[in-house]
Subunit: 333 residues, 2 copies
Protein backbone atom coordinates (compact mmCIF):
# COMPACT_ATOMS: atom_id res chain seq x y z
CA UNK A 1 0.00 0.00 0.00
CA UNK A 2 1.06 3.58 -0.55
CA UNK A 3 2.59 5.72 2.20
CA UNK A 4 -0.66 7.65 2.57
CA UNK A 5 -2.51 4.51 3.67
CA UNK A 6 -0.24 3.94 6.67
CA UNK A 7 -0.08 7.64 7.49
CA UNK A 8 -3.89 7.82 7.63
CA UNK A 9 -3.87 4.87 10.04
CA UNK A 10 -1.36 6.73 12.21
CA UNK A 11 -3.40 9.96 12.02
CA UNK A 12 -6.58 8.15 12.98
CA UNK A 13 -4.90 6.56 16.01
CA UNK A 14 -3.48 9.92 17.12
CA UNK A 15 -6.89 11.62 17.01
CA UNK A 16 -8.18 9.28 19.72
CA UNK A 17 -5.94 11.16 22.15
CA UNK A 18 -6.49 14.68 20.83
CA UNK A 19 -6.66 17.10 23.75
CA UNK A 20 -5.26 14.53 26.19
CA UNK A 21 -1.56 14.90 25.36
CA UNK A 22 -1.10 18.50 26.59
CA UNK A 23 1.49 20.00 26.55
CA UNK A 24 2.69 17.47 23.98
CA UNK A 25 1.33 17.14 20.45
CA UNK A 26 -1.05 14.33 19.46
CA UNK A 27 1.17 11.98 17.43
CA UNK A 28 0.47 8.61 15.80
CA UNK A 29 2.92 6.00 14.54
CA UNK A 30 2.65 2.86 12.40
CA UNK A 31 5.54 0.41 12.02
CA UNK A 32 5.82 -2.04 9.12
CA UNK A 33 8.51 -4.72 9.00
CA UNK A 34 11.07 -5.18 6.22
CA UNK A 35 8.43 -7.04 4.18
CA UNK A 36 5.79 -4.37 4.64
CA UNK A 37 3.64 -6.15 7.25
CA UNK A 38 2.15 -3.89 9.90
CA UNK A 39 3.71 -4.54 13.30
CA UNK A 40 1.94 -1.86 15.35
CA UNK A 41 -0.36 1.12 15.26
CA UNK A 42 0.16 3.36 18.26
CA UNK A 43 -0.12 6.91 19.56
CA UNK A 44 1.20 9.18 22.25
CA UNK A 45 -1.44 9.01 24.97
CA UNK A 46 -0.45 11.52 27.62
CA UNK A 47 2.49 13.67 28.63
CA UNK A 48 4.94 11.59 30.65
CA UNK A 49 3.88 8.47 28.77
CA UNK A 50 5.88 7.04 25.88
CA UNK A 51 6.10 9.08 22.68
CA UNK A 52 4.28 7.52 19.72
CA UNK A 53 7.50 6.05 18.23
CA UNK A 54 8.52 4.47 21.55
CA UNK A 55 5.03 3.11 22.21
CA UNK A 56 4.82 1.69 18.65
CA UNK A 57 8.27 0.09 19.12
CA UNK A 58 7.15 -1.50 22.37
CA UNK A 59 3.98 -2.91 20.79
CA UNK A 60 5.90 -4.20 17.75
CA UNK A 61 8.57 -5.88 19.89
CA UNK A 62 5.92 -7.36 22.19
CA UNK A 63 4.43 -9.02 19.15
CA UNK A 64 7.75 -10.23 17.77
CA UNK A 65 9.03 -11.52 21.10
CA UNK A 66 6.22 -12.26 23.55
CA UNK A 67 8.77 -13.14 26.24
CA UNK A 68 9.95 -9.53 26.64
CA UNK A 69 8.76 -7.89 29.87
CA UNK A 70 8.66 -4.14 29.32
CA UNK A 71 9.05 -1.62 32.15
CA UNK A 72 6.32 1.01 32.61
CA UNK A 73 8.17 4.30 32.78
CA UNK A 74 9.06 5.74 29.36
CA UNK A 75 12.69 6.38 30.34
CA UNK A 76 13.17 2.82 31.53
CA UNK A 77 11.26 1.59 28.49
CA UNK A 78 13.55 3.54 26.18
CA UNK A 79 16.66 2.11 27.88
CA UNK A 80 15.17 -1.40 27.92
CA UNK A 81 14.35 -1.31 24.22
CA UNK A 82 17.85 -0.07 23.35
CA UNK A 83 19.26 -3.10 25.16
CA UNK A 84 16.72 -5.74 24.14
CA UNK A 85 15.54 -4.96 20.61
CA UNK A 86 17.67 -7.82 19.20
CA UNK A 87 17.57 -6.06 15.82
CA UNK A 88 13.96 -7.21 15.50
CA UNK A 89 13.00 -3.84 14.00
CA UNK A 90 15.96 -3.77 11.59
CA UNK A 91 14.95 -2.50 8.15
CA UNK A 92 11.44 -1.60 9.33
CA UNK A 93 9.57 1.51 8.23
CA UNK A 94 8.16 4.03 10.71
CA UNK A 95 5.23 6.20 9.60
CA UNK A 96 5.02 9.10 12.05
CA UNK A 97 2.54 11.98 11.86
CA UNK A 98 5.15 14.36 13.32
CA UNK A 99 8.92 14.43 12.76
CA UNK A 100 10.63 12.37 15.50
CA UNK A 101 11.99 14.61 18.25
CA UNK A 102 15.69 15.32 18.31
CA UNK A 103 15.92 16.25 21.97
CA UNK A 104 16.08 14.73 25.41
CA UNK A 105 12.89 15.98 27.09
CA UNK A 106 10.98 13.97 29.69
CA UNK A 107 11.98 11.02 27.50
CA UNK A 108 15.10 10.59 25.32
CA UNK A 109 15.21 11.51 21.63
CA UNK A 110 13.00 9.42 19.36
CA UNK A 111 15.25 10.11 16.36
CA UNK A 112 18.19 8.56 18.25
CA UNK A 113 15.99 5.57 19.14
CA UNK A 114 15.10 4.92 15.49
CA UNK A 115 18.77 5.08 14.52
CA UNK A 116 19.67 2.57 17.24
CA UNK A 117 16.93 0.20 16.06
CA UNK A 118 18.44 0.21 12.55
CA UNK A 119 15.17 1.35 11.01
CA UNK A 120 15.40 1.61 7.23
CA UNK A 121 12.89 4.29 6.37
CA UNK A 122 11.02 7.00 8.24
CA UNK A 123 7.95 8.51 6.62
CA UNK A 124 6.96 11.80 8.23
CA UNK A 125 3.71 13.76 8.04
CA UNK A 126 4.48 17.22 9.43
CA UNK A 127 7.87 18.72 10.23
CA UNK A 128 8.51 19.65 13.85
CA UNK A 129 9.63 23.28 13.77
CA UNK A 130 9.60 23.81 17.53
CA UNK A 131 12.92 25.06 18.79
CA UNK A 132 13.76 22.25 21.19
CA UNK A 133 12.49 19.26 19.18
CA UNK A 134 13.41 20.10 15.58
CA UNK A 135 16.23 18.49 13.71
CA UNK A 136 15.07 14.87 14.02
CA UNK A 137 15.25 14.31 10.24
CA UNK A 138 18.85 15.47 10.13
CA UNK A 139 19.83 12.96 12.84
CA UNK A 140 18.07 10.19 10.91
CA UNK A 141 19.61 11.13 7.57
CA UNK A 142 23.11 11.49 9.01
CA UNK A 143 22.83 7.92 10.28
CA UNK A 144 21.79 6.78 6.81
CA UNK A 145 18.07 6.27 7.30
CA UNK A 146 15.84 7.13 4.36
CA UNK A 147 13.50 10.02 5.26
CA UNK A 148 10.36 10.90 3.33
CA UNK A 149 8.56 13.98 4.63
CA UNK A 150 5.28 15.72 3.87
CA UNK A 151 3.02 12.66 3.50
CA UNK A 152 -0.58 13.74 4.34
CA UNK A 153 1.02 16.93 5.54
CA UNK A 154 -2.22 18.95 5.67
CA UNK A 155 -3.95 16.37 7.90
CA UNK A 156 -0.85 16.00 10.07
CA UNK A 157 -0.56 19.76 10.52
CA UNK A 158 -4.23 19.97 11.53
CA UNK A 159 -3.61 17.26 14.12
CA UNK A 160 -0.99 19.40 15.90
CA UNK A 161 -2.81 22.73 15.72
CA UNK A 162 -3.56 22.67 19.47
CA UNK A 163 0.13 21.96 20.14
CA UNK A 164 1.25 24.88 17.98
CA UNK A 165 -1.23 27.15 19.77
CA UNK A 166 0.07 26.02 23.19
CA UNK A 167 3.55 26.98 21.98
CA UNK A 168 2.38 30.45 21.00
CA UNK A 169 0.04 31.10 23.91
CA UNK A 170 -3.13 29.11 24.52
CA UNK A 171 -5.50 26.64 22.90
CA UNK A 172 -9.15 26.71 23.89
CA UNK A 173 -12.12 24.61 22.91
CA UNK A 174 -15.82 24.70 23.67
CA UNK A 175 -17.19 21.40 24.93
CA UNK A 176 -20.87 20.78 24.43
CA UNK A 177 -22.95 17.69 25.15
CA UNK A 178 -26.34 17.41 23.52
CA UNK A 179 -28.93 15.11 22.01
CA UNK A 180 -29.36 14.69 18.26
CA UNK A 181 -32.01 17.42 18.25
CA UNK A 182 -29.73 19.97 19.90
CA UNK A 183 -31.45 19.64 23.28
CA UNK A 184 -29.38 19.46 26.46
CA UNK A 185 -31.59 19.77 29.51
CA UNK A 186 -29.92 19.65 32.90
CA UNK A 187 -28.88 16.24 34.05
CA UNK A 188 -27.12 13.40 32.38
CA UNK A 189 -27.33 13.37 28.60
CA UNK A 190 -24.39 11.33 27.44
CA UNK A 191 -23.06 7.92 28.46
CA UNK A 192 -20.53 7.19 31.17
CA UNK A 193 -17.86 6.79 28.46
CA UNK A 194 -18.39 10.34 27.22
CA UNK A 195 -18.36 11.71 30.74
CA UNK A 196 -15.15 9.83 31.53
CA UNK A 197 -13.60 11.25 28.38
CA UNK A 198 -14.65 14.73 29.50
CA UNK A 199 -13.05 14.13 32.88
CA UNK A 200 -9.83 12.97 31.19
CA UNK A 201 -9.85 16.24 29.26
CA UNK A 202 -10.48 18.23 32.45
CA UNK A 203 -7.61 16.39 34.10
CA UNK A 204 -5.14 17.85 31.59
CA UNK A 205 -6.71 21.32 31.32
CA UNK A 206 -5.36 24.12 33.39
CA UNK A 207 -8.53 26.18 33.18
CA UNK A 208 -12.22 25.42 32.84
CA UNK A 209 -14.38 28.37 31.78
CA UNK A 210 -18.12 28.57 32.45
CA UNK A 211 -20.77 31.27 32.41
CA UNK A 212 -22.79 32.56 35.34
CA UNK A 213 -25.86 30.73 34.05
CA UNK A 214 -24.17 27.33 34.33
CA UNK A 215 -22.91 28.20 37.80
CA UNK A 216 -26.38 29.18 39.01
CA UNK A 217 -28.41 26.43 37.37
CA UNK A 218 -26.05 23.43 37.48
CA UNK A 219 -24.02 24.17 40.63
CA UNK A 220 -21.20 22.06 39.20
CA UNK A 221 -18.07 20.64 40.81
CA UNK A 222 -15.97 20.70 37.60
CA UNK A 223 -13.41 18.18 38.70
CA UNK A 224 -12.27 14.93 37.10
CA UNK A 225 -13.36 12.49 39.81
CA UNK A 226 -14.42 9.84 37.27
CA UNK A 227 -10.76 9.33 36.37
CA UNK A 228 -9.30 10.21 39.80
CA UNK A 229 -7.84 13.31 38.23
CA UNK A 230 -7.32 16.90 39.27
CA UNK A 231 -9.71 19.81 39.58
CA UNK A 232 -8.43 22.57 37.29
CA UNK A 233 -8.80 26.25 38.05
CA UNK A 234 -12.15 27.74 37.08
CA UNK A 235 -12.96 31.01 35.38
CA UNK A 236 -16.56 32.16 35.72
CA UNK A 237 -17.55 34.82 33.22
CA UNK A 238 -20.51 36.62 34.71
CA UNK A 239 -21.98 40.08 34.82
CA UNK A 240 -23.89 39.44 38.02
CA UNK A 241 -22.47 38.96 41.50
CA UNK A 242 -23.19 35.35 42.37
CA UNK A 243 -23.30 33.44 45.63
CA UNK A 244 -20.36 31.12 46.08
CA UNK A 245 -22.49 28.13 47.01
CA UNK A 246 -21.59 25.68 44.24
CA UNK A 247 -19.38 22.66 45.07
CA UNK A 248 -16.70 23.96 42.68
CA UNK A 249 -15.77 26.57 45.32
CA UNK A 250 -15.01 23.90 47.90
CA UNK A 251 -12.19 22.17 46.07
CA UNK A 252 -8.77 22.50 47.72
CA UNK A 253 -5.81 23.95 45.81
CA UNK A 254 -8.00 25.39 43.08
CA UNK A 255 -8.25 29.00 42.07
CA UNK A 256 -11.66 30.32 41.11
CA UNK A 257 -11.74 33.55 39.18
CA UNK A 258 -14.97 35.51 38.70
CA UNK A 259 -14.89 38.32 36.20
CA UNK A 260 -17.08 40.45 34.02
CA UNK A 261 -14.90 39.87 30.97
CA UNK A 262 -14.47 37.11 28.42
CA UNK A 263 -10.68 37.27 28.19
CA UNK A 264 -8.79 34.24 29.43
CA UNK A 265 -6.02 35.10 31.92
CA UNK A 266 -2.66 34.87 30.11
CA UNK A 267 -1.07 32.27 32.37
CA UNK A 268 -3.42 29.48 31.26
CA UNK A 269 -2.52 27.53 28.12
CA UNK A 270 -4.96 24.60 27.82
CA UNK A 271 -8.48 25.90 28.25
CA UNK A 272 -11.77 24.04 28.13
CA UNK A 273 -14.97 26.05 27.93
CA UNK A 274 -18.17 24.32 29.02
CA UNK A 275 -21.76 25.46 28.72
CA UNK A 276 -25.00 25.54 26.81
CA UNK A 277 -26.52 27.56 24.00
CA UNK A 278 -26.15 31.06 25.49
CA UNK A 279 -22.55 30.60 26.53
CA UNK A 280 -21.73 29.03 23.17
CA UNK A 281 -23.21 32.13 21.52
CA UNK A 282 -21.05 34.32 23.79
CA UNK A 283 -17.83 32.35 23.32
CA UNK A 284 -18.03 31.02 19.77
CA UNK A 285 -15.57 33.53 18.36
CA UNK A 286 -13.25 33.31 21.39
CA UNK A 287 -12.41 29.60 21.20
CA UNK A 288 -10.24 27.74 18.70
CA UNK A 289 -12.12 24.46 18.38
CA UNK A 290 -15.39 22.83 19.37
CA UNK A 291 -15.89 19.36 20.83
CA UNK A 292 -19.44 18.04 20.71
CA UNK A 293 -20.65 14.84 22.33
CA UNK A 294 -23.93 13.54 20.93
CA UNK A 295 -26.14 11.10 22.77
CA UNK A 296 -28.05 9.04 20.22
CA UNK A 297 -31.48 10.23 21.19
CA UNK A 298 -34.19 12.75 20.41
CA UNK A 299 -36.30 14.12 23.24
CA UNK A 300 -39.59 15.95 22.66
CA UNK A 301 -39.42 17.15 26.26
CA UNK A 302 -36.10 18.89 25.70
CA UNK A 303 -36.70 22.48 26.77
CA UNK A 304 -33.17 23.81 26.44
CA UNK A 305 -31.86 23.65 22.91
CA UNK A 306 -28.93 25.12 21.08
CA UNK A 307 -30.28 28.11 19.19
CA UNK A 308 -27.45 30.01 17.59
CA UNK A 309 -25.92 30.66 14.17
CA UNK A 310 -22.66 28.86 13.67
CA UNK A 311 -21.03 27.16 10.69
CA UNK A 312 -18.47 24.54 11.56
CA UNK A 313 -15.96 22.40 9.75
CA UNK A 314 -15.86 18.77 10.87
CA UNK A 315 -12.27 17.70 11.60
CA UNK A 316 -12.75 14.32 13.27
CA UNK A 317 -15.65 12.10 14.27
CA UNK A 318 -15.72 8.86 16.18
CA UNK A 319 -17.75 7.06 18.76
CA UNK A 320 -17.01 7.04 22.45
CA UNK A 321 -18.95 4.18 24.01
CA UNK A 322 -22.48 4.49 22.64
CA UNK A 323 -22.14 8.19 21.86
CA UNK A 324 -20.75 10.09 18.92
CA UNK A 325 -18.15 12.78 19.39
CA UNK A 326 -16.81 15.29 16.91
CA UNK A 327 -14.06 17.88 16.81
CA UNK A 328 -14.90 21.00 14.79
CA UNK A 329 -13.37 24.29 13.80
CA UNK A 330 -15.30 27.38 12.87
CA UNK A 331 -15.64 27.82 9.11
CA UNK A 332 -13.77 30.77 7.74
CA UNK A 333 -15.69 31.92 4.69
CA UNK B 1 -1.34 -7.76 13.58
CA UNK B 2 -4.19 -9.96 14.74
CA UNK B 3 -6.98 -11.12 12.41
CA UNK B 4 -9.39 -8.64 13.99
CA UNK B 5 -7.29 -5.70 12.83
CA UNK B 6 -7.62 -6.63 9.16
CA UNK B 7 -11.25 -7.62 9.54
CA UNK B 8 -12.08 -4.20 11.01
CA UNK B 9 -10.39 -2.58 8.00
CA UNK B 10 -12.55 -4.72 5.70
CA UNK B 11 -15.71 -3.92 7.69
CA UNK B 12 -14.96 -0.21 7.59
CA UNK B 13 -14.49 -0.30 3.81
CA UNK B 14 -17.74 -2.23 3.33
CA UNK B 15 -19.77 0.29 5.33
CA UNK B 16 -18.95 3.00 2.80
CA UNK B 17 -21.27 1.20 0.38
CA UNK B 18 -24.01 0.21 2.83
CA UNK B 19 -27.40 0.54 1.14
CA UNK B 20 -25.83 0.84 -2.33
CA UNK B 21 -25.23 -2.88 -2.97
CA UNK B 22 -28.89 -3.98 -3.10
CA UNK B 23 -29.83 -6.78 -3.64
CA UNK B 24 -26.32 -7.90 -2.70
CA UNK B 25 -24.82 -7.69 0.77
CA UNK B 26 -22.27 -5.03 1.70
CA UNK B 27 -18.97 -6.94 1.83
CA UNK B 28 -15.40 -5.83 2.45
CA UNK B 29 -12.13 -7.63 1.75
CA UNK B 30 -8.49 -7.12 2.72
CA UNK B 31 -5.66 -9.10 1.12
CA UNK B 32 -2.26 -9.54 2.73
CA UNK B 33 0.66 -11.19 0.93
CA UNK B 34 2.60 -14.23 2.14
CA UNK B 35 4.67 -11.95 4.38
CA UNK B 36 1.65 -10.23 5.89
CA UNK B 37 1.87 -6.95 3.95
CA UNK B 38 -1.48 -5.44 2.97
CA UNK B 39 -2.01 -5.58 -0.79
CA UNK B 40 -5.52 -4.15 -1.01
CA UNK B 41 -8.55 -2.99 0.94
CA UNK B 42 -11.70 -3.18 -1.17
CA UNK B 43 -15.46 -3.59 -1.06
CA UNK B 44 -18.39 -4.62 -3.20
CA UNK B 45 -19.74 -1.33 -4.53
CA UNK B 46 -22.90 -2.14 -6.42
CA UNK B 47 -24.81 -5.14 -7.82
CA UNK B 48 -23.34 -6.07 -11.18
CA UNK B 49 -19.95 -4.76 -10.09
CA UNK B 50 -17.16 -7.04 -8.87
CA UNK B 51 -17.67 -8.85 -5.58
CA UNK B 52 -15.36 -7.69 -2.78
CA UNK B 53 -12.92 -10.61 -3.24
CA UNK B 54 -12.67 -10.01 -7.01
CA UNK B 55 -12.26 -6.25 -6.58
CA UNK B 56 -9.60 -6.76 -3.89
CA UNK B 57 -7.78 -9.24 -6.18
CA UNK B 58 -7.84 -6.72 -9.02
CA UNK B 59 -6.45 -3.95 -6.80
CA UNK B 60 -3.75 -6.25 -5.38
CA UNK B 61 -2.68 -7.48 -8.82
CA UNK B 62 -2.69 -3.93 -10.19
CA UNK B 63 -0.21 -3.04 -7.49
CA UNK B 64 1.98 -6.10 -8.02
CA UNK B 65 2.00 -5.82 -11.81
CA UNK B 66 1.23 -2.29 -13.01
CA UNK B 67 1.36 -3.49 -16.62
CA UNK B 68 -1.85 -5.52 -16.32
CA UNK B 69 -4.83 -3.90 -18.11
CA UNK B 70 -8.01 -5.10 -16.43
CA UNK B 71 -11.35 -5.33 -18.25
CA UNK B 72 -14.35 -3.51 -16.70
CA UNK B 73 -17.10 -6.11 -16.56
CA UNK B 74 -16.86 -8.43 -13.56
CA UNK B 75 -17.25 -11.58 -15.64
CA UNK B 76 -14.45 -10.58 -17.98
CA UNK B 77 -12.42 -9.42 -14.97
CA UNK B 78 -12.88 -12.80 -13.30
CA UNK B 79 -11.78 -14.66 -16.46
CA UNK B 80 -8.88 -12.24 -17.00
CA UNK B 81 -7.60 -12.69 -13.45
CA UNK B 82 -7.81 -16.49 -13.73
CA UNK B 83 -5.57 -16.27 -16.80
CA UNK B 84 -3.20 -13.52 -15.72
CA UNK B 85 -2.66 -13.79 -11.97
CA UNK B 86 0.83 -15.30 -12.51
CA UNK B 87 0.58 -16.81 -9.01
CA UNK B 88 1.17 -13.30 -7.63
CA UNK B 89 -1.42 -13.94 -4.91
CA UNK B 90 -0.05 -17.37 -4.01
CA UNK B 91 0.02 -17.92 -0.24
CA UNK B 92 -1.82 -14.67 0.42
CA UNK B 93 -4.49 -14.26 3.11
CA UNK B 94 -7.98 -12.96 2.32
CA UNK B 95 -9.95 -11.32 5.12
CA UNK B 96 -13.59 -11.23 4.02
CA UNK B 97 -16.51 -9.92 6.07
CA UNK B 98 -18.82 -12.53 4.51
CA UNK B 99 -18.05 -16.12 3.50
CA UNK B 100 -17.02 -16.18 -0.20
CA UNK B 101 -19.92 -17.22 -2.41
CA UNK B 102 -20.00 -20.76 -3.75
CA UNK B 103 -22.28 -20.09 -6.70
CA UNK B 104 -22.25 -18.67 -10.20
CA UNK B 105 -24.56 -15.65 -9.96
CA UNK B 106 -24.10 -12.52 -12.03
CA UNK B 107 -20.40 -13.22 -11.48
CA UNK B 108 -18.64 -16.58 -11.00
CA UNK B 109 -17.96 -18.14 -7.59
CA UNK B 110 -15.52 -16.22 -5.39
CA UNK B 111 -14.58 -19.40 -3.50
CA UNK B 112 -13.47 -20.98 -6.79
CA UNK B 113 -11.49 -17.83 -7.60
CA UNK B 114 -9.59 -17.97 -4.31
CA UNK B 115 -8.75 -21.64 -4.90
CA UNK B 116 -7.43 -20.83 -8.39
CA UNK B 117 -5.26 -18.03 -7.01
CA UNK B 118 -3.62 -20.50 -4.59
CA UNK B 119 -4.55 -18.38 -1.61
CA UNK B 120 -3.24 -19.83 1.63
CA UNK B 121 -5.71 -18.66 4.23
CA UNK B 122 -9.21 -17.21 4.21
CA UNK B 123 -10.41 -15.40 7.32
CA UNK B 124 -14.18 -14.99 7.36
CA UNK B 125 -16.39 -12.72 9.45
CA UNK B 126 -19.95 -14.00 9.02
CA UNK B 127 -21.08 -17.26 7.43
CA UNK B 128 -23.28 -16.99 4.35
CA UNK B 129 -26.33 -19.11 5.09
CA UNK B 130 -28.33 -18.07 2.03
CA UNK B 131 -29.43 -21.05 -0.01
CA UNK B 132 -27.71 -20.20 -3.27
CA UNK B 133 -24.42 -18.78 -1.96
CA UNK B 134 -23.58 -20.97 1.04
CA UNK B 135 -20.90 -23.65 0.99
CA UNK B 136 -17.97 -21.39 0.08
CA UNK B 137 -15.92 -22.57 3.06
CA UNK B 138 -16.33 -26.22 2.06
CA UNK B 139 -15.01 -25.48 -1.43
CA UNK B 140 -12.02 -23.67 0.07
CA UNK B 141 -11.27 -26.39 2.61
CA UNK B 142 -11.60 -29.21 0.06
CA UNK B 143 -8.94 -27.48 -2.01
CA UNK B 144 -6.69 -27.29 1.03
CA UNK B 145 -7.04 -23.63 1.96
CA UNK B 146 -7.00 -22.80 5.66
CA UNK B 147 -10.33 -21.30 6.73
CA UNK B 148 -10.85 -19.32 9.93
CA UNK B 149 -14.45 -18.21 10.48
CA UNK B 150 -16.24 -16.01 13.01
CA UNK B 151 -13.69 -13.17 13.30
CA UNK B 152 -15.57 -9.99 14.35
CA UNK B 153 -18.69 -12.02 13.68
CA UNK B 154 -21.08 -9.67 15.49
CA UNK B 155 -19.93 -6.64 13.47
CA UNK B 156 -19.96 -8.64 10.23
CA UNK B 157 -23.49 -9.88 10.91
CA UNK B 158 -24.67 -6.34 11.57
CA UNK B 159 -23.18 -5.26 8.25
CA UNK B 160 -25.40 -7.71 6.34
CA UNK B 161 -28.63 -7.13 8.26
CA UNK B 162 -30.20 -5.25 5.30
CA UNK B 163 -29.22 -8.16 3.02
CA UNK B 164 -30.81 -10.72 5.35
CA UNK B 165 -33.99 -8.61 5.50
CA UNK B 166 -34.12 -8.36 1.69
CA UNK B 167 -33.97 -12.16 1.64
CA UNK B 168 -36.87 -12.46 4.03
CA UNK B 169 -39.00 -9.62 2.67
CA UNK B 170 -37.97 -6.00 2.80
CA UNK B 171 -35.46 -3.63 4.39
CA UNK B 172 -36.53 -0.06 5.03
CA UNK B 173 -34.71 2.95 6.41
CA UNK B 174 -35.69 6.51 7.28
CA UNK B 175 -33.44 9.12 5.72
CA UNK B 176 -33.26 12.47 7.43
CA UNK B 177 -31.09 15.50 6.69
CA UNK B 178 -30.73 18.12 9.37
CA UNK B 179 -28.47 20.66 11.00
CA UNK B 180 -26.62 19.99 14.24
CA UNK B 181 -29.50 21.55 16.19
CA UNK B 182 -32.13 19.27 14.66
CA UNK B 183 -33.45 21.97 12.33
CA UNK B 184 -34.24 21.16 8.72
CA UNK B 185 -36.12 24.03 7.08
CA UNK B 186 -37.09 23.65 3.45
CA UNK B 187 -34.33 24.08 1.00
CA UNK B 188 -30.84 22.78 0.83
CA UNK B 189 -29.31 21.81 4.15
CA UNK B 190 -26.53 19.40 3.32
CA UNK B 191 -23.65 19.56 0.85
CA UNK B 192 -23.68 18.34 -2.74
CA UNK B 193 -21.79 15.21 -1.62
CA UNK B 194 -24.58 14.23 0.79
CA UNK B 195 -27.23 14.90 -1.83
CA UNK B 196 -25.35 12.82 -4.39
CA UNK B 197 -25.10 10.02 -1.86
CA UNK B 198 -28.87 10.25 -1.31
CA UNK B 199 -29.42 10.07 -5.07
CA UNK B 200 -27.18 6.99 -5.27
CA UNK B 201 -29.36 5.42 -2.58
CA UNK B 202 -32.54 6.38 -4.44
CA UNK B 203 -31.09 4.88 -7.61
CA UNK B 204 -31.00 1.42 -5.98
CA UNK B 205 -34.27 1.72 -4.04
CA UNK B 206 -37.42 0.30 -5.49
CA UNK B 207 -39.68 2.49 -3.39
CA UNK B 208 -39.46 5.93 -1.83
CA UNK B 209 -42.03 6.65 0.87
CA UNK B 210 -43.08 10.17 1.87
CA UNK B 211 -45.92 11.72 3.83
CA UNK B 212 -48.61 14.08 2.51
CA UNK B 213 -46.94 17.00 4.31
CA UNK B 214 -43.70 16.59 2.31
CA UNK B 215 -45.68 16.29 -0.90
CA UNK B 216 -47.61 19.48 -0.27
CA UNK B 217 -44.81 21.62 1.13
CA UNK B 218 -41.77 20.42 -0.85
CA UNK B 219 -43.38 19.36 -4.14
CA UNK B 220 -40.45 17.02 -4.71
CA UNK B 221 -39.31 15.13 -7.80
CA UNK B 222 -37.73 12.22 -5.88
CA UNK B 223 -35.50 11.01 -8.66
CA UNK B 224 -31.73 10.45 -8.75
CA UNK B 225 -30.80 13.02 -11.38
CA UNK B 226 -27.55 13.99 -9.61
CA UNK B 227 -26.15 10.55 -10.49
CA UNK B 228 -28.08 10.05 -13.74
CA UNK B 229 -30.02 7.30 -12.01
CA UNK B 230 -33.59 6.10 -12.00
CA UNK B 231 -36.72 7.49 -10.39
CA UNK B 232 -38.07 4.76 -8.09
CA UNK B 233 -41.77 4.23 -7.44
CA UNK B 234 -43.23 6.50 -4.79
CA UNK B 235 -45.63 5.72 -1.97
CA UNK B 236 -47.39 8.71 -0.45
CA UNK B 237 -48.93 8.02 2.92
CA UNK B 238 -51.65 10.62 3.39
CA UNK B 239 -55.04 10.93 4.98
CA UNK B 240 -56.07 13.85 2.79
CA UNK B 241 -56.83 13.81 -0.92
CA UNK B 242 -54.03 15.83 -2.50
CA UNK B 243 -53.66 17.51 -5.86
CA UNK B 244 -51.25 15.69 -8.14
CA UNK B 245 -49.28 18.80 -9.02
CA UNK B 246 -45.80 17.86 -7.76
CA UNK B 247 -43.05 17.04 -10.29
CA UNK B 248 -42.84 13.50 -8.93
CA UNK B 249 -46.09 12.69 -10.76
CA UNK B 250 -44.62 13.63 -14.12
CA UNK B 251 -41.85 11.03 -14.23
CA UNK B 252 -42.28 8.39 -16.93
CA UNK B 253 -42.34 4.68 -16.05
CA UNK B 254 -42.89 5.35 -12.36
CA UNK B 255 -45.78 4.18 -10.25
CA UNK B 256 -47.10 6.55 -7.64
CA UNK B 257 -49.27 5.04 -4.93
CA UNK B 258 -51.34 7.22 -2.60
CA UNK B 259 -52.85 5.51 0.39
CA UNK B 260 -54.26 6.16 3.82
CA UNK B 261 -52.14 3.40 5.39
CA UNK B 262 -48.55 3.05 6.53
CA UNK B 263 -48.01 -0.48 5.26
CA UNK B 264 -45.48 -0.88 2.48
CA UNK B 265 -46.81 -2.86 -0.53
CA UNK B 266 -45.35 -6.37 -0.39
CA UNK B 267 -43.66 -6.32 -3.79
CA UNK B 268 -41.05 -3.71 -2.75
CA UNK B 269 -37.89 -4.93 -1.03
CA UNK B 270 -35.54 -1.95 -0.69
CA UNK B 271 -37.43 0.97 0.76
CA UNK B 272 -36.24 4.46 1.61
CA UNK B 273 -38.48 6.67 3.70
CA UNK B 274 -37.88 10.41 3.50
CA UNK B 275 -39.37 13.18 5.59
CA UNK B 276 -39.18 15.50 8.55
CA UNK B 277 -40.11 15.38 12.22
CA UNK B 278 -43.78 14.47 11.88
CA UNK B 279 -43.23 11.69 9.38
CA UNK B 280 -40.33 10.35 11.46
CA UNK B 281 -42.69 10.24 14.44
CA UNK B 282 -45.22 8.36 12.30
CA UNK B 283 -42.76 5.89 10.79
CA UNK B 284 -40.15 5.36 13.50
CA UNK B 285 -41.46 1.94 14.49
CA UNK B 286 -42.11 0.87 10.89
CA UNK B 287 -38.56 1.17 9.57
CA UNK B 288 -35.52 -1.01 10.25
CA UNK B 289 -32.75 1.56 10.26
CA UNK B 290 -32.19 5.32 10.22
CA UNK B 291 -29.74 7.27 8.09
CA UNK B 292 -29.06 10.83 9.22
CA UNK B 293 -27.02 13.39 7.29
CA UNK B 294 -25.81 16.28 9.41
CA UNK B 295 -24.69 19.57 7.97
CA UNK B 296 -22.12 21.11 10.28
CA UNK B 297 -24.14 24.16 11.20
CA UNK B 298 -26.51 25.59 13.75
CA UNK B 299 -29.23 27.98 12.61
CA UNK B 300 -31.16 30.20 15.01
CA UNK B 301 -33.67 30.82 12.22
CA UNK B 302 -34.50 27.11 11.93
CA UNK B 303 -38.26 26.94 12.37
CA UNK B 304 -38.77 23.27 11.65
CA UNK B 305 -36.99 21.03 14.10
CA UNK B 306 -37.11 17.36 14.93
CA UNK B 307 -39.27 17.10 18.04
CA UNK B 308 -39.87 13.46 18.87
CA UNK B 309 -38.84 10.83 21.40
CA UNK B 310 -36.50 8.28 19.95
CA UNK B 311 -33.50 6.38 21.31
CA UNK B 312 -31.08 5.14 18.70
CA UNK B 313 -28.02 2.94 18.58
CA UNK B 314 -25.18 4.28 16.45
CA UNK B 315 -23.93 1.60 14.04
CA UNK B 316 -21.65 3.59 11.74
CA UNK B 317 -20.51 7.17 11.36
CA UNK B 318 -18.38 8.80 8.74
CA UNK B 319 -18.11 11.97 6.77
CA UNK B 320 -19.45 12.47 3.28
CA UNK B 321 -17.82 15.55 1.82
CA UNK B 322 -18.12 18.23 4.52
CA UNK B 323 -21.08 16.57 6.22
CA UNK B 324 -21.38 13.82 8.78
CA UNK B 325 -23.59 10.82 8.17
CA UNK B 326 -24.63 8.09 10.55
CA UNK B 327 -26.49 4.80 10.34
CA UNK B 328 -28.61 3.99 13.40
CA UNK B 329 -30.95 1.31 14.63
CA UNK B 330 -33.66 1.83 17.18
CA UNK B 331 -32.58 0.81 20.68
CA UNK B 332 -34.38 -2.20 22.02
CA UNK B 333 -34.48 -1.83 25.80
Amino acid sequence: MVNEFYMLLAISEAWKYQGLTYPNPAVGCVITDKNGAILSVAAHKKAGFAHAELEASREALAQLNPLLKFPQSPNELHAFILQNHQNLLKDSTFYVTLEPCSHQGLTPSCAELLCALHVKRVVIGARDNTKKARGGSEILQKTGLEVIAGVCEKECKELIEPFLLWQKGSFSFFKLAMRLDGSYDNGTITSIDSREFTHRLRDVCDLIVIGGETLRSDKPTLDSRLVNGKAPDVLICTQKATEKNAPLFNVKSRNVIMQNSLDFPKKYKNIMVEGGSNFLQTMKDKVNWFLIFYSNSFSSKGKQRVKIDLNLKLIYSSNVGDDLFCWYKQTVD
